[in-house]
Symmetry: C2
């Protein structure tokens, strides 16, 4: 499995991903799932991938090949709107899955399905994020649901639901994304480090801020420690039961 | 769906459950999933149920019938150890599921599967909790894994993984269980109020503390408010990015 997420706030976009892939429990490997494409001054596209690694790698290869071909009808760079790019990625994914679906089904080795998050900005347009389903269709985020997730999405959802609104700062959204990932890593072994984080500030058409965090990175360790302390502190402030209050009064 | 959990700490046991059941999205109802049996001075059994409502109701009915029959070979009261009681509940569940499995499969209306958490204490023995799988087999908690969950278990797992150890107080474990449930309710509509909470103090063989919390209960509202504030406070203490530190220095 995998866990990737993207957050859309007023000031820009945040992307975060883990790096664990596994084929069963006895073949666990590390792959980056964050792919950044920048045309300075023109457009930025970031893709996050989850699901069958062969499918997502093939889609990424085809995306790169289409970018090199001057006569390709559509590519990450040629789509006029980001939803056209989402449609294109969904199509590549479907084509790739169809090629191998029969063989995979016969061998019983799991499906060819893959999901993608596509985010970025085209000059003159707003930043956007899209979730592209294995079936090739796609949805965008909204002010009411300002984040999208792929892979093991349940563990890290409550913190997003509590914190993220369009008014959240890019930095707080990034910290929240890291906590969401760290919570998932702690509770599910199919999601693992290093973590990757990217921050795109609206209307800044250069390479987005990017950071890779291993378990030994000072920022990761400090985040983990502070968050654990914060959880214990928050728990300590929750309402007391009647008998605790009585006990506290008796102790005074 | 449903979400129920039990926590075993040195001082005793905590049980918590939601009350939502649904058959599809257009038939949502409210049922208690916590069933408490007390024989003062002798033994305490608490059962939490998840899965097919017909199966779990039938199992509870059979449990009550067996308690009334003086000649029943095994019952909640007759099992010499709690693992015998777990085995008995698993057996009742399997018998019930087998009766309806074919018809349910033919109608395509979902499975007959149900899961249970059984916890309690028999005088002279230690308090214990068991998770009984739909297949009738069962596992107990351990000092390394001091909690068990059934139903929608992912959303509420990170907070348990961060907080709960055998040394956690009963009251803190209860607050943590409520947060785990509240986080799940917020993120998944198949889990809903009222919440039920029970606390069994080790070696106290009388009716355990029980509380039912609706969305309007002052304790629930206060917990929700305090926890949200605690999350924001914890996020505010996480490490800053380089440019935030520079900005802060420039502002001074």
């Amino acid at each position: 499995m995998t866990y990737c997420l993207a957050i859309s706030v007023n000031k820009g976009l945040v992307f975060a991903s883990d790096s664990r892939t596994n084929a069963g429990v006895d073949y666990v490997t590390t792959y980056s799932k964050m792919h950044t494409f920048v045309w300075p001054g023109e457009r930025i596209c970031i893709l996050l991938t989850a699901g069958n690694l062969a499918t997502s790698q093939a889609v990424m290869n085809n995306i790169r090949t289409d970018l090199e071909k001057p006569d390709s009808k559509i590519s990450l760079r040629k789509g006029k709107h980001l939803h056209e790019v989402a449609h294109y990625v969904g199509h590549l994914s479907q084509v790739e899955q169809r090629q191998h679906a029969d063989a995979l089904e016969k061998s019983g080795s799991g499906g060819a399905e893959a999901s993608f998050i596509l985010g970025g900005q085209i000059a003159g347009q707003s930043p956007e994020i899209y979730l592209i389903y294995p079936q090739g269709n796609y949805i965008s985020a909204s002010p009411e649901t300002p984040y999208l997730q792929i892979g093991e999405n349940k563990y890290g959802k409550p913190i997003l639901d509590r914190i993220i609104t369009p008014a959240t700062s890019l930095e707080d959204a990034a910290r929240c994304a890291l906590v969401s990932l760290e919570s998932t890593i702690r509770s599910n072994i199919s999601v693992g480090p290093p973590l990757e984080l990217a921050i795109h500030t609206s209307d800044v058409f250069k390479t987005p801020y990017h950071q890779k965090l291993t378990l030994n990175s000072p920022m990761y360790k400090s985040m983990q420690k502070q968050w654990n302390e914060g959880m214990h502190r928050a728990l300590g402030r929750l309402p007391r039961f009647e008998w605790e209050l009585k006990q506290a009064m008796a102790d005074e």
